[in-house]
Point group: C2
Chain length 204, copies 2
């Protein structure tokens, strides 16, 4: 266990254990790589703790399956087969959310994003998962497809002990304000600056 | 596949494919969480691409098994059982490197770190793995336990197509200079600021 000691102990009436076990709202933002990667790394850790993991990808095309999806699904299979770790669900906007009826138009991205959020809100109310990864969710917020005030209210009011990680650039300030942990990934150097494109196993 | 286009195309005599497939040296540094988490997220992706993964933890105590270790070992087991993904090895300094003979003194951390690096250098020369995660390796470099010039030389001269990810604060400038991709994790907000300690599934 980590040795870190908080610098301040708030006057919130909670014991250290109660405070430690509060669910976290985490935001990974900034211009640089690593936002989603670190979120999926958190899912890895949560899986080991037996968390039910729900991943909701908001932007990447369903045609493009990232390596993390296959790997986390394999861990979900390990859980189903042996009971080790936690369950894993993975939903993608690009393929039509798997729980949603087919949209009228495949190009209706805004409606799809709103439907995705509505399902997440239902799951939060039902305490379906222990860890939610809302991958690239800042974009539909930034574009106004999903109302950020409604999202922040639902997140603040979520019951039980549900951790939520949201990734993407341009995280809205009200979301940052509501978050417990915000990490900004800052670019120092990128191989694309030297003319190198992405490669399998590294970029996807 | 990603749509990103490099802004410059270097005059290096390589085709786009050759340039794309160059092995990467990646550094995750900065004061904030997410450095190791994102590195293990990369291992998840590499596993799916069939990479042989070698994780070498330089600082965390062997008594403290992070969730990622169990989860990545479970993926290594999936590979051994079904052939899916890649092999996973995980070595920790705190337990004595599993390949090393017992050190004279358990407290001889500097010698242990040097022995760890020597083994990694042997593996790089032998092209043992496709992806190396040298977790918290910047600290033995920063403390002078391992010679950074020797490390950078070995990394620059490594044969074949071996990706290396190094994590930790205070990455030496010669290492940053040698790296292809450098991400700095910057703190925006941390729950410890509000008096909240770490919790299982999130922090470890």
């Amino acid at each position: 266990m980590p040795q870190g000691q908080p610098e301040t102990v708030p006057d919130d009436g909670l014991t250290t254990r109660q405070r430690r076990n509060r669910p976290l709202l985490v935001v990974h933002t900034g211009e640089m790589k690593g936002k989603s990667t670190a979120a999926f790394g958190m899912a890895l850790r949560g899986w080991n703790a037996g968390f039910s993991i729900g991943v909701f990808q908001f932007v990447k095309s369903a045609k493009w399956k990232v390596g993390e999806e296959t790997a986390l699904r394999a861990l979900g299979d390990v859980h189903a087969r042996t009971g080790q770790g936690g369950a894993v669900e993975w939903h993608k906007m690009g393929e039509g959310w798997s729980w949603a009826r087919k949209q009228g138009s495949e190009d209706d991205h805004a409606a799809a994003a709103a439907e995705g959020w509505a399902e997440i809100a239902r799951r939060l109310a039902a305490q379906t998962h222990d860890l939610y990864v809302l991958d690239e969710f800042t974009y539909p917020l930034d574009w106004g497809w999903v109302d950020v005030e409604e999202v922040v209210t639902a997140l603040r009011q979520r019951p039980g002990r549900q951790h939520v990680v949201i990734t993407g650039r341009r995280a809205p300030s009200v979301l940052v304000e509501a978050a417990d942990l915000v990490v900004e990934m800052t670019k120092v150097k990128h191989p694309m600056d030297a003319g190198q494109k992405g490669q399998r196993g590294i970029e996807w």
